[in-house]
């Protein structure tokens, strides 16, 4: 009945799902879940404030990815950014590379303007689909950054080789830059070119950080426990393999 080699994977998913269910339930019941301040998220107020003071637009992009988890994390941040820009009357320009992400992004912006009490402030032409081609998307975003002379540039989502090109273009126009991605190969580029970087899985804490949503907080606690379990497995695996045992690797291959 099981696909070959996926019994352990299924068990792991079942454990993660169970833990998430338990901790979401506990968080709803009032369990205190504290999260450490994440400088990249804290700096979003500064980025919006800078754009308001300078009277220039703020640029946001959820990256080159389709509707994957990293993009959803980016869109969670976009919701918060949109509300802030609506509050301070800052023009927000969003560029998107994938058509399915574009449709969702437009909806997220529309809803956030509505929640901010300014539905009329949403301008469809400021949510821009650029191109599904990686380099056309990169050149399109560079064009927006230069032509609009943005004061702040926020890039949170799925990024690939275009990451440094976008970050350097943002740096050239003098924008304050906040970036985040789970792509380990692109994080160093963001670190050297941006003012604030949201490292890897930190971006998945956006919902918990901004909205203090109990489901997100519970989920975050479950993620931490799963990470601890992973570290335990890695230490046990290293010790067992060093001792010549293949018990754990055999178990994980089932």
């Amino acid at each position: 009945m099981f696909m070959e080699g996926r019994i352990f994977d299924f068990s792991a998913l079942a454990v993660i799902t169970g833990l998430m269910g338990i901790f979401m339930h506990l968080a709803r019941k009032g369990m205190k879940v504290s999260i450490r301040p994440i400088p990249g998220f804290e700096a979003i107020d500064e980025a919006v404030g800078r754009a308001a003071e300078m009277g220039k637009p703020l640029h946001f992009t959820p990256g080159f990815g389709g509707l994957v988890a990293a993009t959803f994390a980016g869109l969670e941040v976009l919701g918060h950014v949109t509300k802030l820009t609506a509050k301070y009357d800052v023009r927000l320009i969003v560029t998107v590379s994938q058509p399915e992400t574009f449709a969702v992004t437009e909806q997220v912006m529309r809803q956030a303007y509505l929640e901010a009490g300014k539905p009329e402030a949403f301008k469809p032409e400021d949510c821009r689909f650029i191109s599904t081609d990686q380099w056309a998307y990169a050149s399109g975003v560079i064009g927006v950054l230069f032509r609009e002379q943005v004061a702040s540039n926020i890039m949170i989502g799925q990024f690939a080789a275009e990451a440094l090109i976008l970050a350097e273009a943002g740096n050239t126009v003098g924008a304050i830059q906040i970036a985040g991605t789970t792509n380990a190969y692109q994080i160093p580029f963001f670190v050297v070119a941006c003012d604030y970087v949201i490292l890897g899985d930190e971006m998945f804490a956006a919902g918990a950080h901004f909205a203090e949503n109990e489901f997100h907080l519970g989920s975050l606690r479950a993620e931490d426990i799963v990470k601890a379990l992973c570290i335990g497995f890695m230490v046990a695996g290293a010790l067992l393999t060093t001792a010549g045992s293949v018990a754990l690797t055999t178990l994980m291959a089932k």
């Binding site: 998107v96 440094l164 090109i165």
Partner: protein, 207 residues
Amino acid sequence: MFAKKTLPTIIAFVCGVTVVIAYFFNIPFIQARAQDILKWQSVIAVFALGLGAVNIIRIHVNNVQRSQNRNLYSLALLLTFAITILVGVFAGQNSDAYKFIFDYINVPTGSAIFSLLAFYIGTAAYRAFRAKNAEAAILLLTGCIVMLGRVPLGAKILPVSVPLTNWIMSVLNVGGQRGVMIAGAIGFIAVSLRIIVGLERRSYGGE
């Protein structure tokens, strides 16, 4: 409310659970439905591409009409957009004209943008390699060792840079990257599960 929030949640749950079950269990009926869902995904993406095309046309027609400084760029985009579509539809994607557009315009311009990366790596490295504090000094030192270890001349200047580079890349670098990857994968699973059970409502227009 039902069409905007409840229905998308139900669709996301059914599709998500079907694909997950198909991944773990060998049940032919579920496998077939999962394949159908993946095909629907492609069809929906094509419709979304139409929305994207409309957005591009709307923005650039507005630019042209407003006669702003950028109207030449917008005009060029609209012209090339129209020409490419007309050639693709009437001459076909295997025609010489379409191949010409792809091979002699699209590919070289893409390569030109990609080539910017080489210069940007230089400018970013110049800024990053200023030893302003302890962390930047460590980055500078590590960067210098890796650069020396990666070029033949570096091995002549400082022979120890080669084994040191290999150690930095295969132990320190891989260790850090795997940490990010594992934590990222756990986050991916958490977000995906929240989407499947309808707790990630922002994308449906919820709070």
